[in-house]
């Protein structure tokens, strides 16, 4: 199975760009449905996987050339974000995968749902909604799928705090041992 080339996609949508490190096309905000419709016309008819990736705010060091032409290391703050990743295949041409990503902020996570185009996205987008708290605009049935409806928070987010229910154990180790040393057990 050969890969789907991303070049035609970049030619069609000039504001989309190719992320070499991730081997993925970063879709511009608000254009995901248009990109997906165009891909569907090109015969990319199967979405195999939808997942989310959470990036916390981080400090990135990079080398730039300053005005004097000297190399300089600067530190800049990379804002946190959530990527929603789609792995696409073409059953018609027996090609794939093509990876596209929708980017959104962590605070107001909202992307466009591709479920109306690829039905196989439905449950997986619900899972991303459940575990990452990403709101999928246009999803026909968006509700929690793995956790119960009353659950608060989104467990796969990196800043999720698990419920405090540690109990005394006869043989604690690792994290639990640390909590025991601090006396942080319920009983």
């Amino acid at each position: 199975m050969s890969e789907i080339s991303h070049e035609p996609l970049l030619k069609e949508f000039s504001d989309a760009h190719w992320d070499e490190a991730a081997c993925a096309v970063i879709v511009p905000e608000g254009k995901a449905r248009a990109v997906a419709e165009w891909l569907l016309e090109q015969g990319v008819d199967y979405c195999s996987n939808v997942t989310g990736v959470d990036y916390l705010e981080s400090e990135v060091k990079e080398k730039i050339n300053n005005e004097a032409g000297e190399e300089e290391t600067v530190t800049r703050t990379e804002p946190g974000r959530i990527d929603v990743v789609y792995h696409l295949y073409s059953m018609r041409d027996q090609t794939g995968p093509l990876v596209i990503k929708q980017r959104t902020s962590r605070e107001n996570a909202q992307v466009e749902s591709l479920t109306p185009l690829w039905r196989s996205c439905e449950l997986q987008e619900r899972e991303v909604f459940d575990l990452f708290g990403v709101d999928f605009k246009g999803h026909p049935d968006q509700r929690r799928i793995l956790m119960w409806d009353e659950f608060e928070g989104h467990p796969m987010r990196k800043d999720f705090v698990e419920p405090f229910d540690y109990e005394w154990e006869p043989t604690p180790h690792d994290e639990i041992l640390e909590k025991h040393k601090k006396g942080k057990v319920i009983v």
Partner: protein
């Protein structure tokens, strides 16, 4: 050894302390074609050799449970091959696999629907204690927090031989039941409160009637659970 012990071994085991006949007399009677027994013994003997488990699997342990019912391991040798698809007809619940917090209320509800007498085998590390997921946010730390477990079957997952042995342990336990005093016969149908979902956990986190947290022998300071940020 008493006189005629070889004959005694052939007879049914005398497990009743209050019985008037001694083993020797009983053996002689059996030789004459008279069987003397107790209601307890007969009742338990027939119960233990016809344990009907519930068709009910939660995770990978269920595969081993199924394998123990197939011809290679053949659970029917011990009279327990009739897996019933409804709790109303089953008397053994094999909790085979990880009990997630989302599934726990349903497991308790199914147990409540089973008629007495009923027994539970907690199969696998997850059903016993939560196993590798014990410190996770979504897995119950053992089904014994809500239900009275009769046999704990460790393993990850346990081999079918272990399933059969746990069944044998359960049969021994059934044989020792006193039908006048055992809660299975005196309390009516035992039903336990079904836990409810809250924002972070199940409420209540355990049923104090069947389980209480282990005591901390080090006397470490008690820190009340703080409100968790979502």
């Amino acid at each position: 050894m008493v006189e005629g012990s070889a004959d005694l071994e052939m007879t049914t085991q005398n497990i009743s302390p209050g019985m008037d006949l001694d083993d020797k007399t009983r053996a002689e009677l059996e030789r004459a074609g008279v069987i003397v027994t107790r209601v307890d013994f007969l009742y338990n003997w027939s119960r233990s050799n016809s344990v009907w488990p519930l068709t009910f699997g939660l995770a990978c342990c269920a595969i081993e449970m199924i394998a123990s019912a197939t011809s290679r391991f053949d659970m029917s040798r011990f009279g327990s091959e009739v897996f019933r698809p409804t709790p109303r007809q089953a008397d053994l619940m094999i909790v085979s696999g990880t009990v997630t917090k989302k599934m726990a209320p349903q497991v308790v509800r199914i147990y409540n629907q089973m008629p007495e007498p009923k027994w539970i085998i907690a199969m696998g590390a997850c059903a016993i204690s939560g196993g590798p997921f014990k410190q996770g946010y979504n897995v119950l730390k053992g089904i014994d927090r809500y239900l009275p477990v009769d046999v704990y079957l460790p393993g990850c997952p346990p081999r079918p031989e272990a399933v059969l042995q746990s069944l044998n342990y359960l049969q021994n336990k059934i044989n020792d039941q006193d039908i006048k005093a055992d809660p299975a016969f005196t309390k009516g149908r035992r039903q336990y409160p079904v836990p409810e979902f809250t924002g972070t956990d199940l409420e209540p986190p355990y049923n104090p009637e069947v389980w209480s947290p282990p005591e901390n022998p080090n006397g470490e300071p008690v820190v009340p659970p703080k409100k968790t940020a979502a």
